[in-house]
């Protein structure tokens, strides 16, 4: 028996004691998917990239050449400046392109036009914005990844020091009618709380002020069409108002910080909803977050009636949002008004289950919630 055959046998043997499949594997996957989406939509602080009309540059894909601000670009590309500032090694940025290819199952781009490549949010994020031309079309792409392996204060982020890329992709906009802004939201969530940033790219050298529910707002200046602003803790969508109109002949009005064509990208990480009060009742489970999610809990060894406590706030518009609740996909259902008040719902009487029970809730990405399941009425 040769080494390869023995190795096959050994690897097979090694997995002999495989545990039984968890009964809630698919539920677990969905839960992670929801968490991941929440992070993608809001967890990334308010980096708003407003891309400037101006000079741009062309770079061959996966090359290392950088260009001056004034550069020739293909006619289909936005005439915006190159804001790569050297804080991120080009191999990392090329990794963003490669990740986008895999993510969208795209072919290798024939042309990549770079707009942004830098660290942000106290160097905890790497941000890349570029346009790419492939066989299937032309794309505007924003990618962001958390820095995971760099030393504090490290001047340049190298390959292998960033986590997975969060990708946003849109058809390349018409350069003769560029978007008012290309925006991303980033967040830094620490034990001290949540802080958001916006990175703004737009027509160059405009001043603007930003505003968001729960925050006083502030004033910022763009540098060659780029600005990064710390907006702190917010309770709703961040918008910017330019000192002059960026859309030719258009009005000066608030523009949501978001990636073109992706409304959910405008959801920043919201200030957590105030925790619900259980008032001494036994708590089976508790969860806080925003958007849509699920809470798994164990109601004990005997048949038990449960009560759902819920509180939420937010929503992008002026109308009152609601959070929709169900338990175990059973007949129980409730709609929680997102008025930042605590609401109680008498839930079903639950039989013990080996894999527990789950409260599912669906809400707008701009709503924050806190939910608990308690024993009894």
């Amino acid at each position: 028996m040769n080494d390869e055959t023995m190795l096959r046998e050994a690897l097979h043997d090694l997995t002999f004691e495989q545990p039984a499949a968890p009964v809630d594997r698919v539920v677990g996957v969905r839960r992670r998917h929801v968490r991941r989406r929440t992070t993608q939509m809001g967890g990334v602080a308010a980096i708003v990239a407003i891309v400037a009309i101006g000079a741009a540059f062309i770079r061959a894909p996966f090359g290392n050449d950088t260009e001056p601000a004034h550069r020739d670009v293909p006619s289909w590309a936005l005439q915006w400046a190159d804001h790569r500032d050297g804080s991120v090694d080009q191999s990392v940025l090329d990794g963003a392109v490669a990740s986008w290819q895999r993510f969208e199952r795209e072919s290798r781009p024939s042309t990549v036009v770079w707009y942004v490549g830098q660290t942000a949010v106290h160097d905890s994020w790497v941000v890349a914005v570029f346009e790419a031309e492939t066989r299937t079309g032309r794309h505007l792409v924003a990618a962001q990844a958390q820095v995971g392996g760099a030393d504090p204060g490290q001047s340049v982020i190298h390959q292998g020091e960033v986590g997975d890329w969060v990708i946003r992709d849109a058809p390349a906009p018409d350069p003769t009618r560029p978007p008012a802004l290309v925006g991303l939201n980033l967040a830094d969530v620490t034990a001290e709380g949540t802080s958001n940033w916006i990175l703004v790219l737009s027509t160059p050298e405009f001043g603007f002020h930003w505003q968001a529910p729960g925050s006083a707002g502030g004033v910022a200046t763009m540098k060659d069409g780029l600005a990064v602003v710390d907006t702190g803790e917010v309770r709703g969508q961040v918008s910017v108002v330019f000192d002059t109109d960026v859309v030719r002949n258009g009005p000066v009005s608030p523009i949501p910080v978001a990636f073109p064509g992706d409304d959910n990208s405008g959801a920043p990480t919201l200030e957590p909803a105030t925790p619900v009060e259980a008032h001494g009742r036994q708590v089976f489970g508790r969860i806080g977050g925003q958007g849509t999610g699920a809470l798994s809990f164990d109601s004990g060894s005997s048949r038990t009636r449960v009560t759902v406590l819920a509180r939420c706030y937010g929503g992008p518009g002026r109308h009152l949002e609601t959070l929709h609740l169900t338990v175990d996909n059973g007949p129980f259902a409730a709609n929680v008004p997102c008025d930042d008040q605590q609401h109680e719902f008498a839930g079903p009487s639950l039989q013990p289950q080996a894999d527990g029970h789950t409260v599912f809730f669906t809400g707008n990405a701009f709503t924050a919630f806190n939910i608990a399941v308690v024993k009894g009425k």
Binding site: M1, D3, E4, T5, M6, L7, R8, E9, A10, L11, H12, D13, L14, T15, F16, E17, Q18, P19, A21, P22, R25, V26, G28, V29, R30, R32, H33, V34, R36, R37, R105, G148, G149, G160, G163, D164, T292, A294, H324, T326, N329, P331, A333, F360, F361, T362
Partner: protein, 169 residues
């Protein structure tokens, strides 16, 4: 009754049919069943939103690729704190615990392999993939697959971890 999450019955069927096999692969990469489940669920969560596109092609290959890439990113970030063991257990003896002992020896030997060698070994000899398939999954050349395989086999041979196999068959 409203559903909270969009149902994807084919996805659930895929997880039911292939979940255990994928978990075994994840275990051989991580060396820990709990981490393996974590890795598998993370990988599945990444493919879940794109399932309608993936299932038309070769979902098994795609999920396996995501699984391997996810593990690679974990390892690169060193978030999992894995420490290769320099000391291998004694060579298993002919006692009642021989099976468990030799499994431990193989598991320990696997942890001494550099990550790329380990993943090549798992894909080649557990997943029974060809060198070209492994090269495609890992985004490396077939030559690199061959050289990494040879180095891994040499190291495993030196560790004596495979000595409990073959003679008993």
């Amino acid at each position: 009754m409203n559903e909270i999450v969009v149902e994807r019955p084919d996805f659930a069927a895929f997880v039911g049919a292939r979940g255990q096999a994928l978990q075994r692969t994840a275990y051989l990469l991580t060396g820990d069943w709990a981490l393996a489940e974590d890795l598998l669920q993370t990988a599945l969560a990444r493919v879940y939103p794109r399932w309608s596109r993936i299932e038309r092609d070769d979902p098994d290959a795609y999920v396996r690729k995501v699984l391997v890439n996810t593990w690679s990113s974990w390892w690169r970030r060193k978030w999992r704190g894995e420490r290769p063991s320099d000391e291998l257990p004694d060579r298993p003896g002919p006692d009642a615990y021989v099976d468990a002992d030799r499994r431990r020896a193989v598991a320990a030997a696997l942890t001494t392999l550099p990550p790329k060698q380990r993943v090549v070994v798992v894909l080649r000899f557990h997943e029974d993939m060809t060198e070209a398939q492994v090269a495609n999954v890992l985004g490396i050349s077939v030559g690199t697959v061959k050289s990494q395989t040879a180095k891994a086999l040499a190291k495993l041979r030196t560790s004596d971890a495979l000595s409990g196999y073959g003679s008993t068959s």
